[in-house]
């Protein structure tokens, strides 16, 4: 067992465990924080896979951005204050059945597939290559992604302002 394997197992457990806590926790704030740990764990897994840039992005975007958004969402819907933290679940039986079947099927599929693997390249860093790729082969998706983000932001703002407008009318 070399260091890589230890790190892998450790953070795999953290990730999956945190995810499980997130799913099954009754307190939604706990769930959110569990999600944070899970995402951070995934970032470490990325590092193990020589994807340093993605790992950093993962931390920045998910942990620093999306998670904050979710917490905001929690608070804006007044759930952090009103103590209605009971996250009663529905469809419990079919959901767990389906999830189990999915896991089994996937694991079976992964295990039985004969993967055409290549020898892992030892990369020092991927940022340079990614940058070149982004600016050459992927320039169009890159720009479209930028436009998408812009539209999403504008759209989100628009929807939220309309929200305030509705509220004002009601008052």
């Amino acid at each position: 067992m070399d260091l890589t394997a230890i790190v892998f197992y450790l953070f795999s457990i953290v990730t999956v465990g945190a995810a499980a806590i997130m799913v099954f926790s009754k307190n939604i704030v706990h769930s959110a924080f569990a999600l944070m740990f899970s995402l951070a764990g995934i970032a470490v897994l990325y590092v193990l896979l020589y994807a340093d840039f993605i790992a950093a992005t993962q931390l920045l975007v998910y942990v620093g951005g999306i998670l904050i958004l979710i917490l905001f969402g929690l608070m804006l819907t007044e759930q952090a204050v009103t103590q209605k933290f009971k996250a009663v679940t529905v469809n419990m039986l079919p959901a767990s059945l389906l999830a189990a079947v999915t896991t089994v099927l996937l694991v079976y599929a992964y295990a039985t597939t004969s993967w055409q693997m290549v020898m892992p390249e030892e990369r020092s860093e991927t940022v340079y290559d990614l940058g070149i790729l982004l600016m050459s082969d992927y320039i169009l998706p890159f720009i479209i992604a930028g436009v998408l983000l812009l539209i999403a932001i504008v759209g989100a703002i628009l929807m939220s302002t309309r929200l305030t407008a509705i509220k004002n009318e009601e008052q």
Partner: protein, 678 residues
């Protein structure tokens, strides 16, 4: 000299028209001085042109052409010809036109559309000069129509009156009927000769070419072109428009119906003379004689001063046509010239009288009395001396009393007709001619006596009458002067010695020999022989006519009323213009309207009905198909729909509206597929 000058003369009135139509109201005095000035300039130029032509090159003819358009391989030109005929006509037209311009300054001075009036006069003069100058048939036709339209505008000048616009329409449409024939004639000539030019057509005819290779078509073409003259010169059977055209302002009548428009027909015949066959000329002569007689007989009984003059115009034009028809070419043309002067004078004199009457009636606030009815006049002699004496002069001239211009020309015509009958045996022609001479003298003196002599119909009214202003009497004096014989011949009994006879010679006929009219030499010989007889006879007839008139209306020896009763039907015929208007109304106008109604009915009820019924049939088929559709095809559809509805309401229970339930379904089906296919 003979190239630029005619063009300038032609363009001057057009310039007046354009200036007045666009700027008329903004010019000082509404631009009457401009129009009159331009016409007087044109007159001066025409006079100088005529004098230098006659003095310098009396035997030449000058033609210049401009390319108008090219079509296929033909090139069509606009051309101007100056020969003696057109030079004389130029002077006649510009003289009468400029005098009418002057006269109108007085007559029309209060009219609200004063400048428009002068603009139309300019357009009219331009068109008329175009007819005179043109060197080809096509442009003859073009200016011909332009004269038609400008006369339409002038006759209908007081368009608020329904009768005026009716008269204008009638004038134009009747003229169009004549033009229709003329157009056909032009087409026959062009299709066969590929040219419109008079000269080239004559040359080709002389060279033995005939339309469609037959002399019959040559005669036909000539007669068809003569149809134009029938229309414009108001010859039988298209004479009906002219009396009505008196609805226009009186100076316009003077211009249109004395000197210019109606004379255009005569001018056309004179121009076409070289290609008219003997047969065609005979027809022309008879039409002239009949017209002359008909119109004179109508003029005998009319009471409207202008209508009498109108019928006398038709009658005199008949004379001219008759003269041309029998081959007395120069006499006919000379009568055109002399008649232009004295008939314009008569109309202007009548205008002067009407103007004076109007002034009085207006002052007396009388709107019922007809200012043109001679029965409302009488005894004007002392009130309007200038008008009276000039009118007398014109009356003498038209009656053919020696020492007047009218005598000279009429005498020659009658002599020519008589000579023709001695050569060809058509005795009716001179007979009608002489009878008409007597009738003319009668009705003109009747008019003179009723208007100026006798007892005033209404003493108060007549005593208020005043002589017209100088601007109106001056043209009368001028015209009266040129109605004297000296201006045409120094021999009061022999027109043949005058300059006009020298200048205008009968052109050589170009038609094939067997169709030639009587040879000019032989004809002259016969005329010479018979001249004395004709002169005596014509004076006799005229004097008896005058005597009868004086007897009836001055001495009152013969009661007019008795005569009316005695003649009965004849009087009715005459008084109602032989019922031509009614006849045409019944046959042509009603016929036309009947045809239009039939066409409209046919269009709406037959053609459209076919269209609509085809639509109806297809709608019928459609409705049958529709029944099938609703009951059978739709039945199946409805059944399907119903079952779908039932199934739907069952299945809709699955729709819980909860998104997570749906997601469960989705994942479940996905997994099933996953298992099935892997």
């Amino acid at each position: 000299m003979f190239t630029q000058l005619p063009l300038i003369i032609l363009v001057l009135p057009l310039l007046g028209f354009l200036l007045l139509i666009f700027l008329g109201k903004r010019l000082p005095r509404k631009g009457d001085w401009l129009a009159a000035g331009l016409l007087i300039t044109a007159l001066a130029l025409s006079l100088s042109l005529l004098i230098s032509k006659l003095a310098g090159q009396p035997d030449e003819s000058f033609t210049q052409t401009f390319r108008w358009l090219a079509i296929g391989t033909h090139t069509i030109h606009f051309g101007i010809t100056i020969d003696n005929l057109s030079a004389v006509m130029l002077v006649v037209v510009t003289l009468v036109s400029s005098l009418v311009h002057l006269f109108s300054i007085g007559y029309m001075k209060d009219d609200p559309r004063y400048s428009r009036y002068y603009a139309y006069l300019g357009l009219f003069s331009f068109s008329m000069l175009g007819i005179v100058l043109t060197s080809n048939l096509l442009f003859m036709y073009i200016f011909w129509e332009l004269v038609g339209i400008s006369s339409y505008l002038l006759i209908g000048f007081w368009y608020e009156k329904k009768s005026a616009s009716n008269a204008a329409n009638k004038a134009f449409i009747v003229n169009r009927v004549g033009d229709f024939g003329m157009f056909l004639g032009i087409m026959i000539l062009f299709v066969n000769f590929a040219t419109f030019s008079f000269k080239e057509i004559f040359d080709l005819v002389e060279a033995g070419q005939l339309p469609y290779g037959s002399t019959g078509w040559l005669t036909t073409a000539g007669l068809l072109i003569f149809c134009g003259a029938i229309g414009k010169s108001a010859q039988f059977p298209l004479q009906v428009w002219l009396p009505d055209a008196m609805e226009g302002p009186t100076p316009v009548s003077a211009l249109i119906h004395a000197a210019t428009m109606v004379a255009a027909g005569v001018y056309l015949v004179a121009r076409m003379f070289p290609m008219l066959t003997a047969d065609a000329l005979l027809v022309i002569a008879y039409i002239g004689a009949i017209t002359s007689f008909l119109a004179a007989s109508i003029a005998l009984t009319q009471f409207d001063i202008k209508r009498v003059l109108a019928f006398s115009t038709i009658s005199q034009l008949g004379y001219m046509i008759l003269a041309l028809g029998v081959g007395a070419y120069t006499a006919g043309f000379m009568h055109l010239v002399t008649h232009a002067a004295f008939k314009a004078g008569l109309f202007l004199g009548a205008g002067s009288v009407i103007y004076a009457m109007h002034q009085v009636l207006h002052a007396q606030n009388d709107h019922h009395t007809d200012a043109q009815d001679v029965r409302n006049m009488g005894g004007l002699k002392s009130k309007m001396p200038v008008t009276y004496y000039t009118f007398l002069m014109f009356t003498l001239a038209i009656s053919g009393i020696p020492l007047t211009s009218g005598f000279l020309s009429k005498d020659e015509i009658l002599a020519g007709t008589l000579a023709y009958s001695t050569l060809n045996g058509h005795w009716l022609l001179p007979l009608l001619g002489f009878v008409v001479a007597g009738m003319t003298a009668f009705y003109m003196f009747r008019l003179l006596l009723l208007t100026f002599h006798g007892n005033p119909s209404d003493r108060e009214r007549i005593s208020a009458i005043k002589e017209s202003p100088l601007v109106m009497t001056l043209p009368l004096i001028v015209l009266a002067t040129v109605s004297l014989f000296v201006f045409y011949s120094f021999n009061p009994f022999g027109a043949a010695d005058g300059w006009l006879y020298q200048a205008i010679e009968r052109p050589i006929s170009m038609v094939p020999n067997m169709l030639q009219p009587v040879d000019a030499g032989i004809f002259e010989e016969a005329v010479h022989h018979i001249h004395g007889t004709a002169m005596v006879l014509s004076i006799l007839f005229a004097l008896s006519g005058i005597l009868l008139a004086i007897g009836m209306y001055y001495w009152k020896k013969i009661k007019a009323e008795n005569l009316v009763q005695r003649t009965g039907v004849l009087y009715d015929l005459s008084f109602n213009s032989w019922y031509f208007d009614e006849l045409y109304d019944r046959i042509f106008v009603s016929g036309l309207f009947l045809l239009t109604r039939i066409s409209k009915w046919f269009d709406e009820h037959i053609i459209d009905a076919i269209v609509n019924s085809s639509a109806w049939v297809s709608r019928g088929i459609a409705s049958v198909a529709g029944l099938f559709d609703t009951n059978i095809v739709d039945g199946l559809v409805h059944a399907t729909a119903a079952s779908a509805d039932r199934a739907g309401s069952m299945l809709s229970k699955i729709q819980t509206g909860k998104i997570q339930t749906y997601l469960v379904y989705v994942i479940f089906s996905f997994l099933v597929l996953f298992i099935l296919f892997i």
